[in-house]
Symmetry: C2
Subunit: 196 residues, 2 copies
């Protein structure tokens, strides 16, 4: 992927996180990225293609900063807990990414063009988490009766709900983390130390 | 409240549910409601006032169709379960209302003017649910160790996350209901029949 390509997607994500998707014009992205509108049309065909690629770009960035949880020697339950908590961080890049992602998610309700990609990204996220839940179960760190898919669907949907509350200032980051930790304990039942 | 007032708010909610908030202009609401823009300015001062009142209107409508759960002789646990499930219904009015509410929630991330009202509406919803959880606990229908506020915050945030997935076609209504029912069972522990 060319630098220009990435530069355009970064500019689009920045603008979406700042003002939302709905008013976004290709001209603004061109001004923010410091490239011509012609180049944006060349790379992405038009506004629709630009939005779809921006959604992908934002999703990749979220994977980068949450997969850090997997680069440790921690057990699967700690890894999955950290992976979910890292979705909500007091960091300008994470906040920007979450705001842009939430906005594209909300836009998909009205824009069928974004739905397929949103569904695919959500399903990958759910699968990754379900995989970690299965690993935690195999290691005796999560209740065997927890359904990995349903648990993953609920926990990711909860993260999305809490993320929106955090970004709109309805819930503090600290409170959102606590609610999420407790949800994980309820879903996976026994805390890890009871098995060590 | 005058008929005209309500007519304008219904038109605004309809347009928001159809196309989102961001591109919405007062002129479109005036055309949809069949009233002059001057009348809208007279009633709501401007676009900001109109959005805030529409949020309130949508919230009142949601309370109307979910509070049906309270008009029964069912026990508190059944009432709270139904109240949450009624947020997601295969009904054009509920779908319209949920889409408009989700959109205003997403907009509040970018629009500080809507935040205070969103936070107040969310907090009322959480309080109402926490009250029902306490009633269920008093009746022996919910685990006494469940924290009513935290449980209510999690369940309502989950409903919001699931609602967005339902509206964007990522999750079916049937699946969303099942996930929500199971979340209630995890949060409140013992199912009611174990106490009868």
């Amino acid at each position: 992927m060319s630098d220009r390509h990435t530069q355009i997607l970064q500019a689009a994500a920045r603008l979406i996180a700042r003002h939302g998707v709905r008013g976004l014009r290709v001209e603004e992205v061109s001004a923010e990225a410091g490239v011509s509108t012609a180049l944006i049309y060349y790379h992405f065909k038009g506004r629709g293609g630009l939005l779809r690629h921006t959604l992908e770009h934002i999703n990749r960035r979220a994977i980068l900063y949450t997969d850090v949880a997997l680069d440790t020697s921690a057990d699967a339950r700690t890894q999955l807990t950290d992976m979910l908590l890292l979705e909500l961080q007091d960091d300008p890049h994470v906040r920007e990414n979450s705001a842009a992602w939430g906005e594209l998610r909300a836009t998909a309700v009205f824009d069928p063009d974004l739905r397929e990609q949103l569904a695919a990204a959500t399903s990958r996220w759910v699968d990754d988490l379900a995989h970690l839940i299965r690993r935690a179960q195999a290691a005796g760190l999560a209740a065997p009766e927890a359904d990995p898919e349903a648990t993953a669907e609920r926990l990711t949907a909860l993260v999305e709900g809490l993320s929106e509350r955090w970004l709109s200032g309805t819930t503090s980051l600290r409170r959102a983390h606590q609610l999420l930790r407790d949800a994980i304990t309820l879903e996976l039942r026994q805390p890890p130390h009871s098995h060590k």
